[in-house]
């Protein structure tokens, strides 16, 4: 059974169609129309993705690799649109479309009052299209198109509430940081073209072994190994997109965007594009031990140190954001030890449980009327039981409690790092192990602060007593949606709706079904998918040719010899180090946040210096701001004064512009409007042609 081109095209184009309809005809089709068409597009795309996965796994369909349309060819540069669908792609397609579909549904509830409703749906569908183009690509150009496409939508959505100055700042920051990464990425692609002469994946991978021994001579004495250059440059691109240290600073700020896109773009799919790309490029990375060490160390650093910051955050979304950074670090470590399958496996389970956590956080935020500070929450579990239970499921998966999905993927990574003998793997092992403890600390802290303990908010109506509250609620829910929408927008600078922090208009309540349904649907794979898929995906060579690992580097193969089924692994996990650390963290946080809340403050003041370091996020932002932003401005001013104003403006621009202007003005004077001047110009032209021929050309005559 062969994969059909038509089906693949429909998968990619259905979200685009939804995007165009909702974007250009948003006013005509209205709110319901906008969410219907986009969700329909996603539904088609998702169902067909599952079908493709089924075909390629159970149906025995061979991998698909075909150019569909050639855009242009110039010399060696052959630019085309095509699809390469193997098991890696098929899995990514399912993850992307499934999470995206649920986020679409969730958005109906989350953005119900927002004036930019249609625009939002159009953007997230566009995102899905770009992401699918990225994962389904069979060449570097299309990969780059998808890469920039998802980036573009990400910026648009971070700045979705464009009247908030913080959102605009975050937007700009994400854009600038990603420029750094994309610059490396583009150079990487150029290096591939330079060394291998092709941008097509299959050809490039087949030619990868020819890179051995080649080098890039920068100067007479510096020779860089070709494979290392390519891999490091490509990985710099991944560092930007997948928010790896030190290009991670944009991701926490991206939380300024609406929560559904934090779940979809900044947790489940787009930020994992870098991980996917490195896994896809495994034939290159396997050639360079140095590049893999670099990848591993960057990842390990991120896994531990960004997690630590999560402990001191008070914003519910920021905790999840730092957790995402840390988990992306885990995936990167796995790439660095050549456990590409492990990275992609963690990518998949993470997509489910992290989307769940974000959407759950969003549900809490709705209930708290866009209050995100956990210090004003507490005791929410009795108001919103579904959110509470599903978020606990997500949290258990995140901290890797045995038998949850997160356990299988994360434990495998930790084990794989332990097996590795690559340079720096000792450091990486310590980081990922300590990271497990840190993950548990911030996760349990977040759950306790949000759902357990005393309520730290008070409910105050608009001059209503508590007893009229229910009525107010009714009116608000049904009659006043439009008014609320305006209200919401007008107050976007101030998320508290004019109230003091911790004061709510009416009591929190469980979110509508469009919000809770996606939570439930995400909770199921968060719990179960790992148990059922670890065997084939990690140890059963499920990815086949899609991922290439040199025999000497095959740490997963080593692990596979000790693997005796998912159940046994789970039981064994109960006795392992990571689980002991998680249990310790559980005890500590439970004691502090449930039984002795005052202690948190005492610890904070006792460890003031450490707390400050974390609270300032290791001053990375400050340094960037001082050095790059302010330094950039200074340097710019210097160049402007010395270079621009004097040389460029004075001589080149004003000089050449002046010259151009003078020429233009001169020629314009020729355009006098007098007919005889015009005729004269023509005659002159004729004479010049004749004369030119007389001088230069007459020699040829009569030969």
């Amino acid at each position: 059974m062969q994969l059909s081109t038509t089906i693949l095209l429909i998968i990619a184009l259905a979200p685009l169609a939804g995007c165009l309809l909702a974007g250009f005809l948003g006013k005509q089709i209205g709110r319901a129309g906008a969410h219907s068409v986009t969700i329909l597009g996603l539904l088609i795309s998702c169902a067909l993705s599952f079908y493709v996965l089924y075909q390629i796994t159970a149906g025995g369909a061979p991998s698909y690799n075909q150019d569909i349309y050639t855009w242009f060819e110039i010399g060696r540069l052959h630019v085309s649109v095509g699809f390469m669908v193997d098991r890696l792609t098929a899995m990514m397609m399912v993850v992307v479309t499934f999470v995206s579909l649920l986020v679409h549904v969730y958005t109906i509830g989350y953005m119900a009052d927002d004036p930019g409703y249609q625009r939002f749906f159009s953007y997230i569908s566009l995102f899905t299209f770009a992401m699918l183009m990225l994962v389904m690509s069979n060449n570097f150009m299309q990969l780059f198109f998808g890469w920039e496409g998802v980036g573009l939508v990400s910026y648009l959505l971070i700045g979705f509430w464009y009247k908030r100055p913080t959102a605009i700042f975050a937007n700009l920051k994400a854009f600038l940081v990603n420029r750094v990464g994309d610059f490396g990425f583009l150079l990487g692609i150029a290096a591939v073209l330079y060394f291998l002469g092709t941008l097509d994946y299959a050809t490039a991978f087949a030619g990868a072994p020819s890179l051995i021994g080649k080098s890039l001579a920068l100067t007479a004495n510096t020779h860089w190994d070709a494979a290392t250059v390519i891999c490091v440059l490509l990985f710099i691109g991944a560092m930007g997109k997948s928010a790896q240290v030190p290009l991670h600073v944009w991701l926490p700020d991206s939380m300024e965007g609406p929560t559904p896109i934090s779940a979809l773009i900044h947790a489940a799919t787009m930020v994992t594009a870098g991980i996917f790309m490195v896994a896809r490029m495994s034939p290159f990375f396997e050639l360079s031990e140095g590049a893999l060490s670099f990848v591993m160390i960057i990842g390990a650093t991120g896994a531990l140190f960004t997690g630590l910051i999560g402990i001191v955050q008070n914003d519910i979304k920021r905790v999840v954001a730092y957790s995402t950074l840390s988990q992306l670090g885990y995936m990167t470590v796995a790439l660095g030890v050549s456990a590409y399958a492990g990275a992609v496996f963690h990518l998949m389970t993470h997509a489910f449980f992290k989307a769940l956590l974000f959407l759950g956080a969003g549900s809490v935020i709705i209930a708290m009327h866009h209050e995100q500070d956990m210090r004003y929450m507490g005791g929410l579990r009795k108001y919103m039981p579904i959110t509470w239970i599903t978020m606990w499921i997500g949290s258990l998966a995140l901290v890797a409690i045995p038998f949850t999905s997160g356990f299988y993927s994360k434990d495998a990574i930790i084990e794989a790092v332990g097996e590795s003998h690559r340079w720096g793997s000792g450091y990486a092992y310590v980081c990922v192990l300590a990271g497990a403890f840190v993950t548990a600390l911030y996760t349990f802290r977040q759950m306790y602060l949000t759902f357990h303990g005393k309520e730290r908010f008070v409910v105050v109506g608009h001059g209503h007593g508590h007893d009229t509250h229910a009525i107010h609620h009714e009116v608000h829910d049904h009659g006043a949606h439009d008014a609320h929408g305006d209200d919401h927008h007008a107050h976007t600078d101030d998320p508290h709706h004019g109230h003091k922090p911790g004061e709510l208009e009416h009591a929190p309540h469980e979110s509508p079904w469009v919000v809770t349904l996606p939570l439930i649907l995400l909770a199921i794979p968060s719990l179960l998918v790992g148990f059922f898929t670890i065997g084939p995906m990690l140890f059963g060579n499920w990815f086949g040719q899609a991922i290439h690992v040199e025999e000497a580097n095959n740490v997963l193969g080593e692990l596979g010899r000790e693997f005796h089924g998912a159940a046994a692994m789970g039981l064994h996990g109960l006795l392992s180090w990571p689980f002991a650390l998680v249990a310790l963290a559980f005890v500590i946080t439970t004691y502090i946040y449930l039984f002795n809340p005052a202690m948190a403050g005492r610890i904070k003041s006792a460890l003031k210096p450490l707390w400050t370091v974390l609270d300032r996020k290791y001053w990375v932002d400050d340094v960037y701001f001082a050095v790059f932003a302010r330094g950039g401005v200074k340097l710019g001013r210097l160049f402007w004064k010395a270079g621009d104003a004097a040389v460029i403006d004075g001589v080149l621009v004003n000089g050449s512009a002046g010259l151009v202007q003078r020429i233009a003005a001169g020629v314009r004077r020729l355009q006098s409007g007098y007919l005889y001047h015009y005729a004269f110009a023509m005659i002159l032209g004729l004479i010049l042609l004749l004369g030119g021929f007389w001088v230069f050309g007459s020699g040829q005559i009569g030969q």
Binding site: Y69, T70, W71, F72, I74, V660, Q661, I663, A664, A665, V667, R668, L670, Q671, G673, L675, H677, Y678, A679, A681, M682, L684, G685, L686, L688, L689, L690, G692, F693, F696, G697, S698, Q700, I701, G702
Partner: protein, 479 residues
Amino acid sequence: MPNLNDIMIMLPEFYLVAAACLLLLLDAWMKPEQRNILHWVSILVLVVGIYLVVAGQPQVTVTAFGGMFVRDATAEILKVFILLCTALIFVFSRPYMQDRKLFQGEFYTLMIFATIGAMLLVSAGNLVMVYLGLELMTLCSYGLVALNRDSQLSSEAAIKYFVLGALSSGMLLYGMSMVYGATGTLALVQLHGAVAQAGMSNLMVFGLIFMIVGISFKLGVAPFHMWIPDVYQGAPTSVTIFVGSTSKLAAFGMAYRLLESGMGGMAHQWQMMLAVLAVVSLAIGNLVAIVQTNLKRLLAYSTISHMGYLLLGLVNAGPEGYASAMFYAISYALMSTAAFGVILALARAGFECEEIDDFKGLNQRSPWMAFLMMLAMFSLAGVPPMFGFFAKLLVLQAAIHAGMMWLALVGAVFAIIGLYYYLRVVKVMYFDKPAEGLEIRPQADGFLRTMLSLNALVLLALGLYWGPLLGWCRAAFAG
């Protein structure tokens, strides 16, 4: 004696002549308020014309009337686009002409006769046919430019166009007579043979130079461009658009017929002349456009520079060069209908909407029109992935393959300079505040808006999917 076969080969032209005569009669018996019928019938006539051209397409090159008329793939493709552009002009022009009380039958019949002239010109197989086709087209154009006879600008432009056009026709005829004197033939095929056989004499070269002057005038290549800015600005916009699109396609056809079909053996001589003319055009067109404040005048200088690029393709003097030049001519014609189409759609009674300042803040008043204009400007400037980008790329490539790297470099440099004035229009539309008290409402004609949108979007679509069109252009010159 003409036989039926000759007539069948020329069927589209015969049909259009008949249709134009009928339209003339129709107009004479029609009440002014029924003139809308004339409008739709004219469009229908052109669409049927396209059908006849496509449906009657011969398998191989055929000639009629003893070689006077040639019907080959080159002529077929050019005719399709000539008819298409004229049809688009009719669609875009109606509200404009109505607002100015110019909505007369003459407009339609003169346009159709000019179109017939253009079709004969691109199909010419004889120097006499070249001249006749050219005169039919230009004589109609003179009348069209002067259509708004109460406007001083319009009349002035027409007089200048007429006098200079007569001058250039004279030079063309003089050149032809010298060539005839040297070879004793007027048929292009025999001329080609004679040139190849007898080699060249000074007389031939002189004839060639005079013919190049005639071609350059039609294309609007500097220094034979002086009429272009005045005519573009002075003529009613609905006529400017004709001069900028349909007649440029015809002028390319004429250049190809004379230079390749007739004087192909002297390519070595005319290549260098065209290269020099191209550089002068690029320089004058792009530099002077920068200081323009009137959009129609800006587009006039832009035409001059675009014709410089078209020459870059012709300079190659091989199949690749002709294909790229034809591709360029088609792309330019479609870009120019889109750009002038937006001007037409925004103009009202008493308001021409032709100053660049009139476009200030257009995005806030009519975002869709601003978007369409942006597409047209990007395409004219050659921003990837627009149609215009690939057209430029192909002619530059052709110049390089002809061994004229320096010429391609000059072209690339002027493309960057040209970017400035196109982007200025975009900047004005998107970033400037609208002028006070100026109200801009695009014409409400739904069909116009749809076709204009399609026209502009095609510039994007053909940038993404240009394979087939280029394939046709290449196939036309492959044989």
